[in-house]
């Protein structure tokens, strides 16, 4: 038996013993996801147990070092962990922007003290983070952002406004891009961390076409941020942001797994599929989705050993989000009039239609499809003037 076989057996046995039955089916909606944080209400005891057991073993962030709350798994071991979880349909014990986005940035740019402090909090699900990037006047052209931090010696005083801050109303802390030098566009931005309960921080949910409000406007009115809460160097926050955007794009692309990679034809067919043209479209979609799942796997394998092109997440983000939009168009078509229901019980409050509308943001948030294509053209294809 190789080391990997032994490891797989160990993981399999542990999961068998410790993953509660209720946690072995996919999350149906937002309410099934464990986000953690100071104010998080567990949906049931199984969700809480599953989180606690994983935290104790470092399995919420299996490939982070043990000193920071992880399990110190190698890339190959982490892949085995994902495969074994997928095998029994185990849900992620914890989902958070801390794990997907801030964590990787801290691992690369944080001081040792920051890593020990913030990463452990993230791994245990104690602090829920949100991301302060976009502003009303700075969407695709993010680097034009205006939120300003005035230097006051041992702290900054931050004023400005962010928009599309996901779950800002539920988050405990924010990682935020703040201009600290007005004379320098790219090298005048710093990456700051602060508590959302700091005086001067207010949030206002934005109602979307889905009827839900996952995003907020976030306002900063003379918010005091101590100097030690900066990640990376002063005025070099754009480097951190770019690195982190790579992870965000990877997350949105679905490369790490998740149901947007699945084929859907078989699921739709269970409720009857009488239209041959729709069936053909589903088959074409399944070809693309199954092929894209291979791309996700290949990308992760290559990224772990430094073989992937650094701009590849932009391609993944573009394709993954366009695919997800197409997926929901087909699900709506297959659902017919039932899928139109907005608040009925049998659709769990309009899940098909609200999810369909939600996906339209996929190719806008975290960099639009058009921006992704620009990046691919410039950094991978090296086309002139791009």
């Amino acid at each position: 038996m190789s080391d990997h076989d032994a490891f797989r057996a160990e993981i399999r046995a542990w999961l068998e013993e410790n993953c509660p039955a209720e946690m072995r089916e996919p999350a149906r909606d937002e309410a099934d996801v464990c986000w953690g944080g100071r104010n998080f209400q567990f949906k049931n005891a199984a969700q809480k147990t599953w989180l606690e057991r994983c935290v104790a073993k470092g399995y919420t962030v299996p490939d982070w070092p043990q000193a920071y709350g992880g399990a110190g798994m190698s890339p190959a071991q982490a892949k085995i962990w994902r495969e074994e979880c997928a095998r029994i349909g185990a849900r992620p014990p914890l989902s958070s922007f801390g794990i997907w986005m801030l964590g990787p940035a801290l691992l690369k740019f944080g001081t040792e003290e920051q890593k020990v402090h913030y990463l452990n909090q993230i791994a245990r699900g104690e602090i829920r983070w949100c991301q302060g990037y976009s502003e009303p006047g700075s969407g695709s052209d993010l680097v034009s952002l205006q939120t300003f931090g005035e230097d006051k010696g041992d702290h900054w005083v931050v004023n400005g406004q962010k928009i599309w801050t996901s779950y800002a109303d539920k988050a405990d802390w924010i990682f935020c891009l703040v201009r600290t030098d007005k004379a320098n566009k790219y090298q005048g931005i710093s990456f700051l961390l602060f508590d959302m309960t700091t005086p001067g921080v207010t949030t206002k949910p934005i109602k979307l076409i889905s009827g839900n409000s996952p995003f907020c406007e976030t306002f900063f009115d003379n918010v005091v941020v101590p100097k030690h809460q900066i990640v990376g160097e002063l005025n070099r926050g754009w480097d951190v942001a770019k690195y982190l955007l790579g992870h965000e794009r990877e997350m949105i692309s679905g490369a790490g797994g998740g149901d947007r990679l699945n084929a859907i034809g078989a699921v739709v067919a269970r409720n009857g599929l009488e239209d041959p043209i729709l069936r053909a479209e589903l088959a074409q979609f399944d070809v693309d989705a199954l092929a894209y799942a291979c791309m996700g796997e290949k990308f992760l394998d290559e990224a772990k050993v430094g073989k992937a092109h650094p701009a590849q997440p932009n391609m993944m983000k573009y394709v993954g989000t366009e695919l997800n939009k197409r997926r929901h168009e087909l699900l709506m078509a297959a659902g017919g009039a039932t899928a139109l229901e907005w608040d009925s019980e049998r659709t769990s409050g309009g899940t098909p239609s609200r999810s369909w509308l939600r996906t339209k943001a996929n190719s806008i948030e975290g960099g639009t499809s058009e921006v992704m294509l620009n990046v691919v053209a410039k950094r991978i294809l090296e086309l002139p003037g791009a």
Partner: protein, 379 residues
């Protein structure tokens, strides 16, 4: 297993890339043999070189003098064949033919493999019977006659048929046309009496035959594997052909993409490089994405086939369908982005378009395989 090449595979890729770019280039091979109206459609000298490199016997067992490699390795060769549009009998002979013979007796392998490994023999596959790939339906009949069989029927799209030393034929020995069982594979020598070819030049300058078997008498030792039980081996041969064609398609798509992006960086209109236009940049970036994804699907399917996974059938169809879609997009965009010169014979991009068309059809097009994905998924 990670979805990238191992060190050994990467070394093989380096070697083959150089070899094919030097020896298999469009000018020396495809254009040369096309312009001389070669009856084989490929050069035997290059086929000999394949043998000297050890490529002809990649998939053969070590006991048979082969390298006992898998579809990942064969795919590395096919991708470079695709990139250079190199005419060669590698796919039919060394991939599909050798896979078929691997299910045959020692005698049968002893009869055909040494010539293949030496680059002296060519094998062809006679599976389909009409213009579309429909291996589920086999009407060509082989009836018992004395110690052997008598073969009667017609086969279509037999690539390299007229150049082949042996044609591997899927024939019906019992049951009706659409039965899964009752199939037997035969290795029919080229000089068999009653075997005739209608040899045709295809759009990509490759040669293929419509083959007629008119009461062809075959010895019992022409049978490959079990009588009536040949469907499983046939499926193996077909899968080898499908994933091989998919790998070659990724090479064709990549080759077309490379010359097209190079053109975008040199051609000027309106006082600027046309690659500066965002309309073209976005289309090129989209095409890049599709080609990358196709490549990922192909290596996944290759690994699953090599590992005898039960998921291999599904992923082979995903790979063939996706590679066909991506490569087709690549050659269409290639011609369009080249503009007028893309329509000329002088430029290579049109050759890529022709090769894509031919490979897309070989062993099932994207529609056939999308249908198969649906069926294998249970709808």
């Amino acid at each position: 297993m990670p979805l990238y090449h191992t060190e050994d595979q990467a070394m093989l890729a380096d070697t083959v890339t150089g070899f094919m770019a030097d020896e298999g280039a469009i000018k020396q091979q495809l254009r040369h043999f096309r312009d001389m109206n070669c009856k084989d459609g490929f050069g035997h000298a290059l086929w000999k070189q394949f043998a000297e490199m050890g490529l002809t016997g990649m998939l053969a067992a070590e006991a048979d003098g082969g390298l006992a490699m898998g579809h990942v390795e064969a795919g590395i060769v096919l991708r470079e064949i695709g990139r250079n549009l190199t005419p060669s009998p590698f796919l039919t002979t060394s991939v599909m033919g050798v896979t078929a013979l691997s299910g045959g007796s020692d005698d049968l392998r002893g009869r055909w493999l040494p010539g293949v490994l030496a680059g002296e023999s060519v094998l062809a596959l006679a599976i389909d019977e009409g213009p579309k790939h429909r291996p589920e339906r086999i009407a060509c009949k082989a009836e018992k006659a004395g110690n052997g069989f008598r073969l009667q029927g017609r086969k279509a799209f037999v690539v390299h048929g007229a150049s082949a030393d042996a044609i591997i034929v899927a024939a019906r020995t019992s049951g009706s046309d659409s039965d899964a069982d009752g199939i037997t594979l035969f290795a029919v020598p080229k000089d068999a009496s009653g075997l005739s070819h209608e040899s045709l030049r295809l759009v990509d300058s490759a040669m293929a035959s419509n083959v007629t078997f008119d009461n062809v008498e075959l010895d019992g030792d022409c049978v490959i594997g079990e009588v009536d039980g040949g469907r499983a081996l046939l499926n193996k041969v077909i899968n080898a052909g499908r994933i091989g064609a998919a790998a070659e398609l990724t090479g064709v798509g990549q080759g077309a993409f490379d010359i097209t992006t190079a053109y975008l960086k040199t051609r000027k209109q309106f006082g600027q490089l046309i690659g500066e236009f965002q309309a073209l940049q976005h289309r090129a970036a989209h095409l890049y994405s599709e080609l990358e994804i196709a490549e990922a699907a192909v290596i996944k399917a290759q690994q699953l086939l090599d590992g005898n996974s039960e998921k291999a059938d599904l992923m082979v169809s995903v790979a063939k369908a996706k590679a066909s879609k991506a490569c087709n997009l690549s050659v269409r965009e290639g011609v369009q982005m080249h503009g007028g010169v893309g329509m000329t014979d002088e430029y290579d991009i049109g050759l890529y378009m022709k090769r894509d068309r031919s490979l897309a059809e070989f062993m099932g097009d994207q529609y056939y395989h999308a249908e198969r994905v649906a069926q294998l998924s249970g709808y």
